[in-house]
Symmetry: D2
Subunit: 493 residues, 4 copies
């Protein structure tokens, strides 16, 4: 059984600025010891909704039994019914949001996953992607294991189930040691809340506290929504085990330098989150400011591509001292489905989600600021929309370097041949999107925006493989196996 990616209902002509962006696979949350554990988890997941809008689940434990609710759709739509919440009894809960796929088959993939192990139940939710997940799965099936989902997360369940260790935490670490790639796990047993981050800390995970009860979450904004206190980031390669007696930290992989994913700053994390001690909003403004230094433009106004380009545009405008103007207006009332124009209407160039603010751009030379270019399809349309609204010149500025390499760590990048920067020079890209000028932030520029002198070529401070091709872990599943890449992507779900 094979996943089918959900088709974006927006036609090319009814374009959506969110259409040609990167997609994160997941956000995770967990809490233990709180009488309203499931409600707290639902609120935390709501704050993490930007990390995945297509499916969500919560598993709670009431001291005797585990309870599970896993659904397609938004957190608010699925966890606002008091009857649903009443079914999620207990003072411990973990939850998950994901960018996922539709259909009955796929509900099996909605996390947290759960298994009854010989020592009791174990639920787990995962943000990230294993680079040896298919290899491990193949070995497991050959040994007689039955895989119900197509997600990496099930592999960890099987590895824990088959471990010969006695204590749960030893079995969990036994399993982690067989994994390659990126992972931030939150797990729940009948005694403990556990968390784990991969040896390089590629995907984020933070520790918080609410009324003395520990919380694990993908971002600090999930703490803020419930008024919880931020304690610290979980470290790369750290396993934490939490129960009523407190928190135990284990470092099964020893001490290694972290390489968190730079895209959390560029695109994924919410602007009000604090990631590794830095305000995401502030880093984005600094990327815009750095971009203004590296690639200034002579123009009348700076226009952000909403919403992800806004902080960088503020930084760019302020550094260049060019007025910041809302040249593109977003329609917030898009509903669940989209009006389907007929072909003849489509040719009118209908724009369902965004429109040009003619009053702000007509007759002007504008600088459009966006966070990144993936396929370039949207960029082309937005330049045209600005020209249709009367912009005299359109200078495109991107507050990150060209994305020339796919990600294998949980970000849904298109294949290489769809990445505009993989096969085109900046000048070619400029011609394709139709801008008067185009410039990207340099790789060193993003490091500067984060407070470094530049990228440390020996031990880079971030995972930046999408820009540099420097993958921080082995890629067991795909190395030398190009023909199998399509299958890989299809099943990575």
């Amino acid at each position: 059984m094979v996943n089918h990616r959900s088709v974006n209902p927006l036609s090319d002509d009814c374009f959506d600025l969110d259409e040609d962006t990167l997609h994160e696979e997941c956000g995770v949350f967990g809490i233990t010891g709180h009488p309203e554990a499931a409600t707290i988890t639902a609120l935390g997941l709501h704050a993490l909704q930007h990390r995945g809008q297509e499916a969500t689940g919560i598993v709670s434990f009431d001291g005797v039994r585990f309870h599970s609710e896993r659904h397609l759709g938004l957190v608010g739509d699925n966890f606002s019914d008091p009857q649903v919440m009443a079914r999620l009894a207990g003072s411990s809960a973990i939850g998950h949001v994901r960018y996922a796929t539709t259909g009955e088959t796929m509900l099996r993939n909605v996390q947290p996953l759960f298994a009854e192990l010989s020592g009791g139940g174990f639920a787990v939710a995962h943000n990230g992607n294993l680079t040896n997940g298919l290899t491990l799965r193949r070995e497991l099936v050959n040994q007689g294991a039955i895989c119900q989902s197509t997600s990496d997360t099930e592999v960890i369940l099987h590895l824990v189930a088959r471990s010969r260790q006695i204590r749960f935490v030893d079995r969990f670490i036994d399993a982690l040691k067989q994994l390659e790639g990126a992972y931030s796990f939150v797990g729940l047993t009948n005694k403990k809340l556990v968390g784990a981050r991969d040896p390089l800390g590629i995907r984020p995970l933070v520790l918080g506290q609410l009324d003395g009860h520990y919380i694990l979450a993908s971002e600090t904004c999930a703490l803020d929504i419930i008024g919880a206190q931020f304690i610290r980031d979980i470290e790369n390669g750290e396993v934490v085990v939490i129960d009523e007696n407190g928190i135990e930290s284990i470092k099964p992989f020893g001490q290694r330098p972290a390489r968190p994913c730079i895209f959390e700053y560029i695109y994924f994390s919410r602007p009000d989150s604090i990631v590794h001690g830095r305000s995401v909003y502030d880093v984005r403004k600094k990327m815009g400011a750095q971009l203004a230094i590296e690639a200034p433009a002579e123009a009348d106004v700076v226009v952000p591509v909403p919403d992800s380009g806004v902080p960088a545009a503020i930084g760019y405008a302020r550094t260049c001292d060019i007025p910041y103007e809302l040249g593109i207006i977003r329609n917030h009332y898009v509903g669940r489905t989209f009006i389907q124009p007929t072909q003849s209407v489509r040719e009118l160039g209908v724009r369902m989600k965004h429109s040009a603010n003619r009053g702000a751009v007509e007759g002007k030379s504008i600088v459009l600021v966006d966070d990144s270019i993936v396929r370039g399809t949207t960029s082309k349309k937005i330049v045209q929309m600005m020209r249709d609204a009367g912009a005299r010149e359109v200078h495109f500025r991107i507050a990150s370097p060209p994305i020339a390499h796919p990600d294998y760590y949980g970000i849904d990048t298109p294949e290489s041949d769809k990445l505009l920067a993989a096969s085109h020079t900046v000048e070619e890209m400029r011609q394709i999107i139709g801008a008067d000028s185009l410039a990207f932030l340099s790789v060193d520029g993003i490091y500067r925006a984060c407070g470094y002198q530049g990228r440390n070529p020996v031990t880079p401070q971030f995972s930046d493989h999408c820009f540099t091709g420097d993958y921080p872990t082995p890629l067991t599943d795909i190395e030398g196996e190009t023909p199998r890449r399509a299958a890989l992507l299809a099943e990575a779900g």
Copy 2:
């Protein structure tokens, strides 16, 4: 049968910045002669969705029969099904969006309304509110008329049906002459598309053209979405009759100065619309700039209250030369329903739709810029949210004057005793909302932002009764009838 206003599911503690705002009742759209009339209308209504999110309807005419689809909910959710659109056959259509109420009973109120008259069918959609609607309705019922809805719009149907004139347009004008208050009508007969604007032009209506086919719409943004051309505003007191032979303009009320509602600039119209020749976005920026002149603040940053305060904040920040920062972040993924925190969780101060961007406000003196204060309940919470996020000082600036009087022309204002400015001085208001300082734009200030020297006290250029108490029409239904006001409001729906 009496309407029940829909209850906002958000508790006070899970606050919503959109909660304490003004609500417009309607947006209207009509087109004739286009083979895709219903689809064009659906797109136009989608662009007008900000004028009413709770119900929507389209009536089309196929040369023989009228077809109607009226539903609760968003345009996109109701008019994206090809089967629904296929039922709306024909080359003429009119449509409506409204801020309305829920329940079976209320579906009767969803517009356009339709009646089979002796000369054929007539469908009509209405933006505005009559100030003699109840009086007319009472007279009609006494004469044996049956009113199925509780909306003003039905009154016009009855008056047309009972007119002794022969030609439809004469019957329509006969009916208009009996009305007081604010109205922008679009109507559809088996021969014509008609439009009408009240003698003062209180509510907006514009004329556009697509491939030679005329369009009527509440705002120019409904023309932009389909690439239609803006022709001109329908004038105050103008009736237009459109068919395949062209457009006929009739002025049954003679020439009088217009007094359009100032709130279209302040709050209702979309920033990318052009209202009476002015860019709404530009007027709002100028209101912010004028406010900065009238009520400057010494502060570190200017923070808009999203989304309605954004243009004014840009204008204010630029005039004061204080950095503009996104101190409040909006969560776009709120879903259809809301997570219901238990009381104990609610006390944590959960914020479902907005959150403070601590990195932008902590330790700073901030100027919060919003478009208006209605009850003040949200303002109080937002000031507290900024203080919780570490703001050192909070200066509140409102880009319009205090709202001290209710509207009776289609804006859903609370009763006087709920309007904070109706019974409090600015200093009292400042104390209630907890700001370090509070200032409003002056009445003359809004006129200046619109390009005038100030308000003309003899013939004011706008309807500004909410600020001044100067109602531009008789208020037949309520004058001297204070005790009946509650009933009035309940039925005005």
Copy 3:
């Protein structure tokens, strides 16, 4: 706007024994003075569900306001939600079930209808059909009335609204006197529950009592479900006005002999109802017994066509002393929608709702007993199904006379050219349906089954026009107006 009849989703090949039957338009119910009026009404409507399955509504009055819930679908599906029932507050309520049509437009036709008259609100529900409804509607529209629905019931609302009488009951009778055709009304004002039956008593209406509170209902089975006591039939031409002081009976049309519709015995009423003093089940058995006398058959078994042919088959089998056997089995789990076989599968002769019980019919000569033949399409298929299951001979016996004339009083008969008996002899019909023999009960036979010597040709005891062509009232809408018949049927909805 024109109704579209709902399309039966069953294809010809996946046949449904209920497909080719007559359809009644309505059932009505009303109660006053009971604290649980709406719940009682919902239960009563549930017992009347066989009279109409496509839409249902209840209007209640709580002493101050009327409340309305009108929906498409079954009673149980619409009135099982406690929130819906809580909205129907008050101690008086009336309700309605109908065989109706689908779509938004048609919700306007779901009864009870309601109007705010000058003296207060008036809700009314109607079973029957007016033979001058279109004529009255045309006159009303010419006088400036607005008709929102396409139902006859709205005409009565307008006539009451326009009456110059003072007291409500006088206005109601004033209106009734203008009507021709069949009607059983239940109505609710802010003071009274009213009922009325047309001068000939064509459609049924009974009076009951529960704990001292009066009830009006189409059939006694609606009294039985709530343990209410049956008092008496409302008489032909009787108007009853019920309030806390008791019941007042008015006979505005004087005393005339009744002519109730014979089809209530043959098909419409539930077998456990008592209609005009006779058990419906008992009359049906007697029709079967009379049929056995008039048209005996030499056969091995008697097989009922389920479910409507069952009592007559029992009567037939007993009189002939031939074993009664269930030769056709009904599948009760049909769900809301039907599996759509592809053409190739359809050719297998799939039967979704019924199947032959081969063990009971194989190798046997059988007598199939049904209540009536309308188009004959189903009869043909059922004969074939019996032959496919191995029946040696199939003798078809119909417990009513041939239906050769359409009904205009609330029964949805097809047009004449679709009525098999309108243009075929019995022998031709036998050949078409493929039976070895075919016989119908005589007209006098149905009168004998009801206890009479036969039909009284001077003053017939029943309305039997479908068999005899003897219409008991003028047919104003259609007389001499053959070309308008299609429009008439379309709008009679």
Copy 4:
């Protein structure tokens, strides 16, 4: 995670004759080689719907991939959408209906289950219950297997996955040999359709053919609906392997006498099915006839308890020569949900699904005939309903022996202390249900109705443990483990 049985929404007072009956767990269907495999399977499942109404699923194989659709609800509601059917591509399919439980968790239990084994995919659907299922599951979990569902069916998947045999069929037989209890399996691999029946043939399974393509189904009625030909019963202990080359029969357990479950004749199978060469309808009539011989009654009429008591009542009435009458009428329009009467209304004795036909029972001595008594709660109410309708005497006759022992083979019987016959004499039962007399068919009587002289005490011809306590297999899971019985029942789901 533990199943929660769905709560019957009908209160005791709004009683349902189907409420206190036995529930079968499943029906299965499979076909291979037919271009419309999924549609054929949906139709077959629709005919088997009486075996389970709460969930249904189909898995198809298109030559490359397996496709799965599993849903809560009826077959017709889930498999009528052409888009759903289009997703079930391929010429092989298996399907399942079950009596199951509600909620997200439980969707995991909806069959067919599927696993990707090392040799390819394997889907399986199961009717029956293993008596060593929990024991096997415990062993599997201890070996590191992960169980996603709580159904027995998953155990077979794990056993096949872990078998060391090479060929699929050897692995399947390897697994079957570890099972105890009752099972009829249909399974689908990427090459074959397989079927298996337990060594005693407790649950049914038949072989049919449509246009040369083999079919497996629980009952012959699933062949009749699509016009397929019945070939033979699958034998007890037989494994069949079907592909394009034909059918292979394997007898891994040698030849043993069969002991099919007698309840297929008494209650479960549809009357038009042929089970082991006997017409179910005919056996039921003979049970009624035998009952009339063993326990005659002097009465005026014989009344069946609908629908399951109908054939036995026909047999009883004919043998006693007492008129058969429909004394109880069923309301077919119950909808999805039920009207919830308030307590005060409930006390009226509301009957939503059935009503007494007073005209048939008033003043009479009646014989009520039903198929079985489980708890006796419904029997008590039905006797009272008959007395309320005026029955002078009520003689209750049951066409099967007293049920004194629970089933462990797939029938959902209540625990012993809820089975009325487990702890009461017939006279005590008579007093509890309030009948004037009560009699059951003898154990030998049911064998006689099936054509035997009586029960063979050495090698009984049927599994009749519910009557005799003679369980035909070991009961490994529960023997000597009384305290764990509750857990067992909860998980047997």
